[in-house]
Amino acid sequence: MKNLWKYFGSYKKECVLGPLFKLLEASFELFIPLVVKQIIDVGIPNGDEGYIIQRVLLMAALTFIGLVCSLTAQFFSARAAVGFSAKVKSAVFSHVQTLSYAELDKTGTSTLITRLTSDINTLQGGVNMSLRLFLRSPFIVFGAVVMAFTIDVKAALIFVVTVLALSLVVYGIMLITVPMHKKVQNDLDKVTAAARSNIGGVRVIRAFGLEEKEEEGFRNSNDALVRMQILAGKISALLNPVTFVLINLGLCYLIYQGGIAVDTGRLSRGAVVALVNYMSQILVELIKLANLIVQLSRALACGSRISSVMDIKSSMKDGDKEYANESGAAELEFKDVSFRYVDAAEDAISGISFKLPAGATLGVIGGTGSGKSSVINLIPRFYDTTGGNVYVDGTDVSQYKEASLRRRIAVVPQKSVLFTGTVRENLSWGRKDATDEDMEEALKMAQAYDFVMEKEGGLDYRVAQGGSNFSGGQKQRLAIARALVRKPAILILDDSTSALDYATDAALRKAVKEMKDAPTTVIVSQRSASIMHADMILVLDDGHAVGLGTHDELMKGCSVYQEIYNSQFGGDEYAK
């Protein structure tokens, strides 16, 4: 939580003034029962109408000043709360930009999104509410007790006992119900999970005729939820009646003691009325306070979730060498590289070595989980190696300035993601200053030119969120074009032609090969056909290199490669 306090820095003034004005307003409110007391004790017995009018005007004045103070307080606290949350949001967002892949893996992006959206909203509401009420409610309770003391010490003791008893009860009920509400939330999550799984698996469920079983399962989790809800509800429902009983018991005792005091002449009638009024003010404020505490504890929980994001530090230190290769292809070398994901038990890859000359093509092939993606993630230094080194143009990648290196490497990821905006805006992710000609050229190479031009506006056609107005294959081709616009030194295709048919895939590879300053290309694929013509093929099995060489060499010497190849082409085909 501590690292968030500094964002209040520019709102120090607001944070002081907001609660201050709120307290002023509360003080005026505390005077009102006293004024009523004067009307009853002085104005009425004397039959002095002028005095009553004067007192009522005083009340109106107090009320009006109270309004002004309160509006001022609302303004300052709103400004502090909104400003604070905007600053925190901006800081968190920028902070996430500095994290490396390792931290992103560990945290998971979906929780980062929740923290940036709903958590910060709750925090903002909590800050606003606290600035306004957190001092006010206890102040009024405390103030009412103090005022009671000024009227009569003995009667005031009743106040002290009542307030203590009330606080205990409120605290006790919350102690019991807060965990119950958490349980309710968990049960609700279970109901959601049951429904989600049902909708997701509808084909399988119907294919196996499991509809009734599903209904039964849903009914069970639904029933469990309702049982918990009713139990929690029954106990929460105690809160109001119990506070009602306690405060009124205090009131009865107060009237009884008041009766004795008036009878002995220790107190006036007006004083007793004032005491009764203070008692009811306390009731109102305590209920507000209980709600506030619930909201505040939620805000604090959210605050600490946000703060923990700020505590994540990037594990990667930026190098200081500028990568100067502005237009040519790059030489790539792996020297005895091993890599292990954080918290993983085993190395994802180990002992990988190869040297790829500038402009050559490397094919990487292997089964699921064999470490193909790990190999290519090390090239743009998305992760640091845990052993050995990766060299681009003879220098270890960790010595380059991250931005200068990545500017010259283009990646086409497995899952093609497009962003909201025009096709042009999406392509300019590859190169900020790309001209229309650059883009058209890249689209042609990626076999995407025709369908983009068919769309209304061509390059200015708007991509919907998630690229939903393009088919899977089209998205993939646009993602490829986005990478090609960069005219990179190294081009990485991470199993990124899976949605393309073989003919398109082949045409794409041919176009890249014929590019001016053709980049060094790394192709990861499950398909033998996509990599068999590469200059060098790396065969991975369970994180180890079990083969390195050309297609012909591997067909002779590498059994894993042969198996993969034969499984896709059938043994007899190669002989033809």
Binding site: A60, F93, L104, L112, V204, L249, H533, E563, S567
Partner: protein
Amino acid sequence: MRSNAKIIRRILHYLKPYWFFMLCSVFFAAVSSLLSLYLPVLTGQAVDLLIDKGLVDMEALKGIIFRMLIIIGISALGQWIMNACNNHVAYCSVRDIRKSAFARLQKLPLSYMDSHPTGDSLSRLIADVDTFADGLLMGFTQFFTGLLTIVGTLFLMLSIHKLVALVVICLTPLSLFVAGFIAKNTSSLFKKQSVTKAVQTSIIDEMIGNEKLVKAFSHEAEAAAAFDENNAELEKVALKAIFFSSLTNPSTRFVNNLIYALVALFGGFAVIRGHLSVGSLTAFLSYANQYTKPFNEISGVVTELQNAITCAGRVFELADEQPQTPDKEDAAVLEQAKGGLKLDGVKFSYVEDKPLITGLDLNVKPGERVAIVGPTGCGKTTLINLLMRFYDVKGGSIAVDGKDIRDYTRKSLRANYGMVLQETWLKPGTIRDNITLGKPDATDEEVIAAAKNSHAHSFIMQLPKQYDTVIGEEGGQLSQGQKQLICISRIMLSLPPMLILDEATSSIDTRTELKIQDAFARMMKGRTSFIVAHRLSTIKEADTILVMKDGNIIEQGDHRSLLKAGGFYSKLYRSQYEM
């Protein structure tokens, strides 16, 4: 408005079984709110007894306090019972609504699931129903007590002193007016805020959701700049919206305090003139203090109830969706199909004016192996949807063993198919639960044999609790390929007479796939099977290959004859070897 009335009638229908609890709730609400209103009257009477030194009638005072104690006790008990009843009614009726909506979900045609995002149905079933429960609960608890409190207070005030009561009644609308005025003027600000916020959420969603890509393209600075720009805008808008809406409470409190002061004024005059006792004045003052509160509450309740009705409407919309045409009354149960299939002039379209399949004929002999190939969108998956009767044909007919599939019960028809899809679905539960999905009474030996056949046994044995390992939502820690192996084990266990394999091995690496092929081949022997695959090597063995394009079969024959024909299939096949 008329549709609102309809929804309310539906809600009442769901509330009906709990009429006794509702009656209790209303009764106890009345008891507790009227009794608690009576308290200030008693307090007033007590104050009236406190005349001056030596003039207090302590016996009478004790009597009043005794009555107060009884009233407090009963009123508190009433409040608690009312709350408990409301809880019961709200949560139970909501459970029933959820249950019937879920049951309907099981009977909806697949076209509904396919055309509505999962999130939409989920939010209707979970979030909307929840909001409805909250609204119903709040409505019950506050609406009725609020109303009774207002009426009761009016009555009591009028009975104490008409003139002062009139002052209060005339001024109350002022507070409502102020609240309404502020609400009206802030709603446009809130709308603006939510629009800006929605933009922010989508920026966060896109950028943070794809943070790795952002970093891969060194787009960090641009992303942060775009975010900051929107964030500054949101700060401005939010400040306005929050500040102006926060004016409501102080302003209405101000009006209420003014009313309070006026009651003190006119009440004080009335006391001096002897029309009113001091005790009654204190009672009046406390009424003036409480009187406006239920008004604010009720206006809150009205919004809450409106919200609840909207949500209920969305849930009912789901419950009202047209269910699939029920099985025919005399529908036959397909026991053990021989596996002969005949498609006769089948027509189908997902969207009314966009025909997809137009007149498809196909004759499959029992035990035949049929492979379907073709580019994306050619109708492969659609054909499977029709075979399984996930969708009904729009024209023509599909017959199994010489009888139209619409004359069988859906359940028995589907039980004759074994289906493995590209998109694997695992049920939350143990591995064993998942394998025995189609044969719940299978023995351990059968389960293990099936898993060995599909080469899933070895990795299952490496899991912490082997076959009893619980897999989480969406399959949790299993890889896509492992999930697919479990789905294949299901079929290997239940061994239905007809098979549908739609990209069944797409996520399994080719070496493991090769190993399973044998088991597949054995399983397919004597079973009619349909195979969809990307890898042409997996379908070469088929008896018949259907080449589909744009919903029609353009070529049909075995591998050899199709290659010889030199059509679409041979082009597709040869493209695998070209560079």
